[in-house]
């Protein structure tokens, strides 16, 4: 028999008993949808953790810093390291050489304050020196302007995070604080890229709450804001200004020197900062340098505060971390935290999955039942076909294909149905302000259906159909042709 004919016979049987085929398919739809929905909630939960953790920091990122000491396992006491592995350019190269590492950037951070509107408004800012060329690799998203790139190395160009414009508060009014965290989707109060000129300085009269630019010999260094980052999902609380690391270090040195030369350091802490100028109204910001330096047994010295390593694959993060730790550094990553969270909810997720599997199993039984009933009904027909010389494999094929059609149709409709259900679940959870395992349903979807789940569900539904049809199909081939014809 031709394959197309086997298919035609099977399809004909499927269509012939419309009500029964429809009910069986409905069973598969519910089974498939149940599995997909249950798994999608599990996936949504994991995704929620990921989103949440991603909003604090990329899960593929590993933060590398010096190991100042370790806790002695026997005594439980903190033991300071005599000499520490330094964070310098050699380290950078070493880290880049690790397999599975996508990008590496050094970081040097300085606390600063941005001042604008004639010294009346100020905003805290963390000036972060990074490898300008690596910004794209690290997945920063730009809203206006552009990200830093290789051309920015050695310049005072910087990129501001989305929140900065919201954080300015009235300095002189004292009480009147009007800064707030940006709400998702909120427009910027002003465009910090085009409308402003920026200058850095090292003087910050914190005590009186004002910056006196009239004092002599205050060195002002021009800077340029080239872009503003897009708002992070799930709440953006960042306060960073990104600049090329070498430029920041250079800038710090220049301004420090100016500060020391004209105002003396004495016991007072030294300050660094940014000046924001709009038209002729110049305002200055300043901050405390937290740049560290360290000694080691070699000539090498740490020149960066820390180093961030980006893994190609989140699954490799912990592997890479281990290797870096073996190099003598302290590491931490969001991945650790995420793994813990996911570990904790594993049980819940497996219960959800089990519910889906049970539903699927019921669907499989229903397919088998339908096919067995079909054989009872068609005993005579099968007998006639056998007598007329239909091969056993063709008879088996007809039943298997019919079962597969039921499974596949149910699978397709089930997947479509599950998208509707998933949307409903998300809408209800979002509206009810429901939060599950600490995930805010308003910001992360409770149910997430990835493409692989659809494909897997389809394959599974079809396979279950075929498996459920296997017994009836074999039974059909075993029917005695003679007995089948005899029954009137």
């Amino acid at each position: 028999m031709r394959k197309t004919d086997v298919l035609r016979f099977a399809g004909g049987n499927f269509l012939r008993r419309k009500a029964r085929s429809a009910l069986t398919v409905l069973g598969v739809i519910i089974g498939t949808a149940a599995v997909v929905i249950m798994l999608s909630i599990g996936i949504g939960m994991n995704k929620g953790f990921e989103d949440q953790i991603n909003s604090y920091g990329n899960i593929k990122e590993i933060n590398v810093c010096e190991r100042y000491g370790t806790i002695n396992e026997e005594t439980g006491e903190w033991e300071q390291n005599e000499s520490r592995a330094p964070l310098d350019d050699i380290t950078l190269a070493d880290l880049r050489a690790i397999e599975g590492v996508e990008a590496v950037t050094p970081k040097s951070q300085y606390w600063g304050v941005m001042i604008k509107d004639n010294k009346e408004k100020a905003s805290n800012a963390q000036i972060v020196g990074i490898d300008a060329a690596s910004m794209e690799d690290f997945g920063y998203e730009i809203l206006y302007g552009r990200l830093l790139n290789e051309s920015d190395i050695g310049t005072n160009n910087f990129v501001m995070c989305f929140n900065m414009p919201f954080y300015f508060y009235e300095m002189r009014g004292g009480e009147e604080v009007y800064w707030h965290d940006s709400v998702e989707g909120e427009e910027l109060p002003f465009n910090p890229v085009g409308d402003y000129r920026y200058q850095f300085t090292w003087y910050w009269n914190y005590g009186t709450g004002a910056v006196d630019t009239t004092r002599p010999r205050i060195k002002l260094v021009d800077g340029k804001c080239v872009g503003i980052l897009a708002q992070k999902k799930g709440g953006d609380y960042s306060q960073e200004i990104y600049m090329d690391v070498k430029s920041v270090q250079e800038l710090q040195k220049t301004l420090q020197a100016n500060q020391d030369k004209y105002y003396g350091r004495g016991d007072e802490p030294s300050y660094g900062g940014v000046v924001v100028i709009k038209s002729d109204r110049a305002v200055i910001g300043g901050g405390i340098s937290i740049g560290g330096s360290t000694t080691s047994d070699t000539d090498r010295k740490s020149i960066y505060d820390n180093i961030t390593v980006l893994a190609k694959d989140p699954k490799k993060v912990q592997d890479i971390e281990k290797q870096i730790q073996e190099m003598g550094y302290e590491t931490n990553s969001s991945m650790e935290w995420l793994t813990q969270l996911q570990e904790q909810t594993k049980f819940l997720r497996s219960i959800l999955g089990a519910i889906g599997v049970v539903a699927f199993f019921v669907a499989a039984i229903s397919i088998a039942n339908t096919m067995v009933m079909s054989i009872y009904e068609r005993t005579r027909e099968i007998g006639i076909m056998k007598v007329l010389g239909c091969k056993l494999s063709d008879i088996r094929g007809m039943f298997l294909i019919e079962a597969a059609i039921i499974g596949f149709t149910g699978g397709v409709l089930g997947v479509i149905f599950s998208y509707g259900m998933s949307a409903l679940v998300n809408m209800l959870a979002g509206k009810g302000g429901m939060s599950m395992m600490g995930i805010d349903a308003a910001t992360s979807n409770l149910s997430v259906i990835p493409l692989w789940l659809d494909i897997a569900a389809l394959i599974l539904a079809t396979a279950v159909g075929v498996l459920a049809g296997l017994y009836p199909a074999i039974r059909a081939t075993r029917l005695s042709a003679l007995e089948a014809i005899k029954n009137e």
């Binding site: 028999m1 010389g389 239909c390 091969k391 003679l482 014809i485």
Partner: protein, 309 residues
């Protein structure tokens, strides 16, 4: 199968009291009955079949050769002997009738000729192939190539049109839909159903259904067509029509036709009539001389007689 044979050999003649008694005189009339002798002690008498064919009046090629065929059904503890040593040879192109009352074993014999049932003992050879030894798979292929069937209850598939029903054996042997539809249409026209081609069995009368059945049996030009009480459900006029159709078709293509019936009027169409009583061939009748011809006066007479009642 092996098990069944074993059960049989275990049950020596003494144990076989329940089985119908064999009539020795009847056995003698059957061809090749020199060795039958009750037909029970010959399980090991495996000889080349060709040698055993001593039918004198046929020089033609044998199509079906049956030797010492025994079938015992075990119903509960009781053993019923449906066939008690059948020997017969059907030649290519012959029209043969197995005539007997219900329960005589004639249908069982037909089933075994068609390979639908396995014999307890004995052999069925068709064109030199032992079909009693074939696997189900091989049998399916063999039936596909060599056999056509006409049934008493038509056995058409209710959800298929006449064309699809007739084309079914062709579909099973892998003929393309276009080709088989064309052949099915030709066949249906030949059977006088040119206007009923797209009808389903339920939309047709018994006679029409049986004509579809005949078209289906002959469409693949099989060498042998088996007909089991083909007219059992039909009135006399239709019976004659159907019989004439089958006979003329098989004559035309020199096909072997084996008809099973209890009706002597149908038997009259055959070349040879085997009377079967209690599982043995009681007598063989060479019917070639008083045979009813297709469209003959006798046929018309039968119809007239039946309808005048």
């Amino acid at each position: 199968m092996a098990e069944e044979v074993k059960t049989f050999t275990d049950s020596s003649p003494a144990k076989n009291k329940e089985a119908p008694m064999l009539n020795d005189t009847d056995l003698k009339t059957a061809p090749l009955n020199e060795q039958t002798d009750g037909g029970l002690r010959q399980a090991s008498a495996v000889q080349p079949i060709e040698e055993n064919i001593k039918d004198p009046n046929v020089s033609a090629k044998p199509a079906i050769v049956i030797k010492d065929l025994v079938k015992i059904f075990t119903i509960g503890k009781e053993k019923v002997r449906a066939l008690a040593g059948i020997n017969l040879v059907v030649n290519q192109g012959e029209i043969v009738c197995l005539l007997g009352t219900s329960g005589s074993g004639k249908s069982t014999l037909l089933n075994m000729m068609a390979g639908l049932e396995k014999p307890t003992k004995g052999t069925v050879t068709i064109y030199g192939e032992r079909i009693d030894k074939m696997s189900e798979r091989k049998l399916a292929m063999f039936r596909q190539k060599n056999m056509g069937f006409v049934f008493q209850s038509y056995n058409l598939l209710p959800n298929f049109t006449a064309i699809d029903n007739v084309g079914m054996p062709l579909a099973f042997s892998g003929v393309k839909r276009k080709v088989r539809d064309k052949r099915a249409k030709e066949m249906l026209k030949l059977c006088g159903l040119g206007k009923r081609m797209r009808h389903k069995p339920t939309q047709m009368s018994g006679g029409q259904q049986q004509r579809v059945g005949i078209a289906r049996a002959f469409v693949g030009k099989p060498k042998i067509v088996f007909a089991d009480e083909p007219t059992g459900n039909l009135d006399t006029r239709t019976t004659i029509e159907v019989m004439e159709m089958m006979v003329s078709m098989s004559r035309e293509n020199h096909q072997t036709l084996v008809i099973v019936t209890h009706d002597t009027e149908i038997a009259a169409y055959a070349d040879k009539i085997y009377h079967i009583i209690d599982g043995v061939i009681s007598s063989v009748e060479d019917n070639t001389h008083k045979q009813i011809g297709v469209g003959s006066e006798e046929a018309a007479e039968i119809i007239r007689a039946a309808e005048s009642v």
